[in-house]
Point group: D2
Chain length 336, copies 4
């Protein structure tokens, strides 16, 4: 039974705490730390059976009983928290992105390597039942050599404009999951990116210097071509689909829905909309992610999403951003 | 926070214990009792945080701290355990069927009434997301007056022949859920039953005096006709579908699947099979069932499935059995 | 190139004429005869390239150039026209039902046999792409031994009450196609029928002595159980589905739709309704039916739907009617 | 009743002849001309009721009785035949592409304009039931402003290498239909094209200077982004899907299939593959295309696909080719 500490007890920190306390056999959360913790946060921790609630994350870093740390704090502190935890000899699970600054990420990875600790990055969609099924069909050889990947990834609602301003841009904030998915599903690396982007959902997003609609084409090392289409606002719900097409066939996954109900009336034949909220849609994937992290720590095996998996999508996002700005395909080798 | 005791800690007892400890806010399991409890069962209880594990159910009945009891013991003890718990003033959740004997059920319901305790029966499928969606579409009036109900209910695998022998027959053991579903979805009562049954899956089932394949037609008080088709063995998985058809339209639900993946190759276009195991298929419904029971106890409101809901499907099952034996439609008023 | 004559040039007569002139290579329609033919009917014939339009069907019977006759006249003349055509040595295609009177049907079949002519009955659904696909999966052994057949057959709109009065009852008029389908899909014979029927769509139908909603259970010689659910009015369109379930699996077909379009908005995910009109839904099956009749005539091979196929569904319909009236299962051997 | 002449009586010429003779009320084919006509071709014409079969197309051009001409000859003669027919005062239906040479196309359009004849181009997919349904949903405003278009267009089998060599490249030969579809569905014009292409299906295609796999991104005048993914070989069949996504929702169409049959066994749940052959898949669209051409001629109304619709996709194809060669986005204004 290992003991975990969670730094940052906002939405995602609580999701992980809940997963661990309810579903992960070999681990428990000993403490959470959040400088902005309030009464409601403390109560949430207690209800989950977490006995220690701190404001100061150092209390977690310094606790010799704590084996591993989940970094769930605000994005700009991910790298610092990861470094502190790793230097204290603790295994680290770090939410994505590690950092927006590539040099900073490299520093984290160096520290992690020197410390000899585990370092897993929070690309939870890899653990989703649908994307897992695609991956299995690709890896089993059922679709042969990969030729095309087509990902549809649309949020149900654009985020508040203040969030957009601090997000680092749609590619780093939202498409980063899709960039990871291209790597995950193809088993190959992205070499060149071309991004077409527009402001079609909300002009304020454009005024903030960002886009809300995009098509991104990626050329992969294995010759395959991947394409992602994004929107910040699909009014019918969270639209998360993928298809991999190859020499022997294709595999695709569609959206999860609240029920299989189909209503037929004189007005039409109606099915349910996709699950709207990402926590609902990816609930199980978060639990599976934790299970596999804990498993890697307990059994001293490889983590399923490592530091290199953490840095690559950020490189692709930066290439996409450069492509958008310069309206030309950009090679990944141009970045940094 | 109410305290629960679970009598019978086999498969279904553990499912409920897990649901309560993980998902139900206002309740905890204080104790479990099972005369056949073994080391593995004790460990399972401990891991869930249940501190008291007994062999003798009396320790639960006599514990004044315990507010409510879940009767999850073997079928032939359901009525006795329910009576003891009710007489001790505890609210009762009783797994289905209450008893195979109608007089015995009446006795339970009498004791419950006199004791003034809650009594909920374990028809978990009512809490399933799919059947809930059907019910909502019926109740909202979207399909108008109900004319036809068509239920497909097939197990993935026939049970062991020893189980069949003690099961009370397919109607009481398996179709009982579908009889309940007809009442739930129609909002009406069954008045007459005609059952056609065959032994097509396994001749040993026939030798044991039972059937494994059936079509049961039910005439309802509101004029609608319901029909259920059953098989003990659908080799492709647990097949659980329903359709309600009415004056303004129809609503139907199909099976839940492990993923939405569709594989297209030169051999065909292949989707996943239905979830195979009933615990996997109905997992969420068991948790929801517990939430609503606890909610009724805590807030002193009506239970969602009461004693009358417990006895009616048994009457229908007995009418179906009589219909099968006499090869004629049997009115429910003929039973008992 | 064989020459055909069509007796009765109403809706179905024209459908067959169109099929033959447009799709059937080895045949042409030389003449049509209809006592009620009007200018519009004559024009329709001419446009199809049919040169002879008569009022008197004798002109077709007596024409030595005409090889085969399609009997598409009103139901009460089917047997008489078939007899005249057969006695004139012509092969006969007769719309269903041959007659409502069993003795009359026997007479037709006797005449046909003596004359040594072909006699095909118009159960067009056997030639439908969906039901053909079910049949192929059953015959190939992919679903193993047949255990259950579940047919949903609902009209989009109840017929005018005057039509109902002369229809011979819903079983003979509408369900007869489904009875044929049970025989076709199962490859077995019906032995016993139980019918539950109600008047739920339109009380006038009840006043006319008929029903509009029914569930019919059929026990087959091979041990399988079939069940049909009927409604005279499915407001969402013509609902024509079937499932065959067996020891190795199940095959089912759903409705054809005008397009595959799916519209997702904040109000829901909407697909098209089933094709509404039977001619649209079964258009291709009518052409295929004609092709196979002509093929049997030209090559002197067995017709795909023979006299026995014509009489059996009528027997089943009569058993269903008796079952409804007497509220008990009725054996086919009881009929006549 | 108008009279048509067909120049070129290969596969597509016969498809049109069949459509007209069987489905189009106000037209008949008076003559076909093909320099390579053989006995089998003559027989096919006769069976359809076409009385005049020539080798020399001049006999059609010079026939004063012929109102309109279908140009179905080899691609390199399309423009010449169209010019001759137009100059003879005949309305023209010309198969796509009009020509590979832009100047030549302009010449055709000039001649047509001067002659004051109708000129329709053979983009049959616009008449397909599925794409029509998408168009209707877009035009009705149900999906709001168009943001994204995602087209999947994959052939079932790569063409013979000799065909590839003379095809003008995949974009002109195959993607041209998808370029037309983007214009049709969006109601907007393409302004810029970026094409990523690879040789993944067959290296011989690469040796012939062409590609077999591509993703093409198109920026439209209305701000929307379209993306097309192409493969020369989808082993599971002809894959023809489209989605239009907008501010109020999305509409998508999937593939047509031979039947709706779904087979469930222990090996999986299997549906039919998409229709394999383009003539089967688009059969009805060819008939509808002819109906609308004849309608425009008979009633002197606008043709549904005019000269401008013929030239635009060729410009886009050329931009795509240039983009592929220079690996950069290419503006349509750069072409010519």
């Amino acid at each position: 039974m290992i003991k975990l500490g969670i730094i940052g007890f906002g939405r995602i920190g609580r999701v992980h705490a809940e997963s661990i306390m309810n579903y992960v056999k070999d681990a428990e959360v000993k403490a959470v730390a959040d400088p902005y913790i309030n009464e409601e946060g403390e109560k949430a921790a207690l209800e989950l059976g977490i006995k220690n609630v701190y404001q100061d994350h150092k209390k977690i870093i310094d606790d010799p009983e704590i084996d591993a740390v989940l970094v769930c704090s605000s994005t700009d502190t991910h790298s610092q928290m990861s470094i502190e935890a790793a230097e204290a000899g603790k295994d680290v699970f770090c939410e994505k992105p590690i950092d927006k600054n590539l040099a900073k990420i490299e520093e984290v990875l160096d520290v992690v390597e020197k410390a000899g600790v585990k370092f897993q990055v929070g690309f939870n969609r890899r653990f989703d039942h649908n994307f897992q099924a695609v991956k299995e069909n690709v890896e089993s050889g059922k679709i042969g050599d990969v030729h095309l990947i087509n990902i549809t990834s649309r949020d149900p609602e654009a985020p508040p404009i203040e969030y957009v301003k601090g997000s680092g841009g749609m590619f780093l904030d939202m498409t980063i999951h899709d960039f990871d998915m291209v790597r995950f599903l193809s088993g190959s690396e992205v070499e060149e990116v071309y991004a077409a982007g527009e402001v079609l959902v909300n002009p304020e997003i454009g005024e903030a210097g960002d886009i809300d609609t995009a098509v991104i084409t990626l050329k992969l090392a294995n010759g395959a071509i991947a394409v992602i289409n994004n929107s910040r606002e699909a009014v019918y719900g969270y639209d998360q689909r993928a298809e991999v097409f190859g020499s022997k066939g294709a595999v695709e996954v569609s959206n999860d829905k609240p029920s299989t109900a189909v209503l037929s009336t004189k007005d039409g034949v109606e099915a349910e909309k996709p699950l709207y909220f990402f926590l609902e849609r990816y609930m199980e994937s978060f639990a599976e992610e934790m299970k596999q992290f804990v498993n890697a720590v307990v059994n001293d095996t490889e983590v399923p999403v490592d530091g290199r998996d953490g840095i690559k999508p950020i490189l692709i996002a930066k290439a996409a951003q450069k492509s958008l700005e310069e309206n030309r395909p950009v090679k990944l080798s141009e970045i940094k």
